[in-house]
Symmetry: C2
């Protein structure tokens, strides 16, 4: 547990930095891999810039949806990329806002229930401003033009809107299901770090563990369900092989495999960041 609001905000920023620095992370930006329009340094700028918004969240100033929009707008003033941290902000801001709660899962759900349609509209704007990607859905899609009108007409707050998400949207599921995946990720991270005392390797291991257990919705959106399942199964094989030798080259070649196929498990990276945050909350220091 943190002692003060500043600590919760610091842990949020540090979680973002540790996640993006973790290398190799199959298919994603890390300290050794830039994409043409998304560089490691964009993540540094976004993470640095978002501290005051995280601090507002920790001080319970502003509701979740509005804070997500403020986070996107504040961070985008410091870099020229498009979406850097939309998914991470969606996961971290509720956690930071409820840092004081004993039962953080329940507190996040209560907080989400207290949001209004304004929060839904703010998240929609944040999504569009950052040009984030998501899976297409039939009703109340983030990309559909009429969604804004429907949200207003039916007065749908953020919690109700999240309930409309497809079950494959693991970021939305985390929010309404009490961060089950992130808590498991936290435990995997803490156990690995306790045993091996290498913070980078612990993060990399956690990322691949999550990749081996869950389907990434961004892979489904871009490459279809079959490819997403194949990536999950390959991650399991790779992780088993890695556990026999702890030879990082095994992970590196998996990374190259996914990069060459343009497969980027972005939501798994987001869940890695929330796992790291929860580990820092639990007292992880290195």
């Amino acid at each position: 547990m943190f002692r003060k609001a500043e600590d919760a905000a610091t842990a949020g920023v540090l979680a973002l930095l540790l996640e993006v620095s973790g290398t190799p992370k199959a298919g994603n930006v890390d300290r050794d891999h830039n994409f043409p329009d998304l560089r490691f340094e964009h993540f540094l700028a976004s993470a640095s810039a978002v501290y005051p918004v995280f601090l507002k969240a920790a001080k319970e100033e502003g509701s979740i949806g509005k804070l997500v929009l403020e986070a996107v707008e504040t961070s985008m003033a410091w870099h020229k990329a498009k979406n850097v941290h939309f998914g991470c902000f969606m996961l971290l801001i509720p956690l930071i806002r409820c840092w004081k709660a004993g039962d953080i899962c329940n507190a996040v759900i209560e907080e989400l229930k207290r949001t209004s349609v304004e929060d839904s509209l703010s998240v929609l704007k944040a999504f569009r401003t950052s040009e984030a990607r998501v899976m297409e859905v039939e009703d109340l899609s983030l990309t559909a033009e009429e969604t804004e009108q429907k949200l207003v007409e039916q007065n749908i707050n953020l919690y109700e809107w999240l309930l409309h998400s497809p079950k494959e949207n693991i970021v939305a599921m985390e929010l309404i299901n009490g961060y089950r995946i992130s808590f498991k990720g936290r435990d995997v991270l803490l156990d690995f770090f306790t045993e091996h005392e290498d913070i980078n390797l612990a993060i990399v291991y956690t990322y691949h563990y999550l990749l081996s257990e869950h389907l990434d919705p961004l892979i489904i959106a871009k490459h279809g369900l079959k490819v997403a399942e194949e990536v999950r199964d390959r991650a399991k094989e790779v992780l088993n092989e890695f556990e026999m030798s702890f030879n990082i080259e095994i992970l590196r070649s998996f990374d190259e495999e996914l990069l060459s196929r343009n497969i980027n498990p972005g939501s798994i990276a987001d869940l890695t960041a929330s796992s790291i945050y929860l580990a820092l909350r639990e007292g992880l220091r290195f």
Copy 2:
């Protein structure tokens, strides 16, 4: 110029992150090089943690020496290394405190003159807490046991104490001479980035430019003046060679050369961070 205190603090944190990430940086920690007791991740933790102290500085809450001590103590609560950012904090905190000033050099000097002996004692404590290294000097040395007593007896404030520094202490010289080196570093960085549009390369170039122009006091302290001069002259040669081809392997092999000789130009890295901060203040975005 920044529009608000939060922006000055963000720029301070981002300068720290961009500096340590810049790779290759001959002889120093970067995203691809850890030392046994000092890892890249320690710098991420220290930079994340220091935001609230930078924000206090920007809001003119607290005097420079006390803020330096608070920065060291706050950042050390988030990592298990010893000195990570002492030199950077000495350079950045006065700049952040005076972010509103038109003439920042003069404003920093005026602010330093307003400090008291308490600030001197705070800096002494920050130095000792972080176990930073410096050049040995005869009078009022950071490492001498009687320094504390002398500072109190003679009521020496931070400005007066800095005036006692040897001219080789380029961090102290920056503070009392209006950041001449950092302003030049800023211009080198902005020019290079304008031409090449690669933020990592611009930082790496700036670092090696500063290394080719100035003697690093930490090299003098550890290896003597001759080695420091040799490193400066080698940096000049290497930089000339690099400018003909922009082949990063040239810098990589210089990095390996210094690392193998255990030569770590830490003060040049500090000045690179203050150069980046000034470039961000000038509007650098990437």
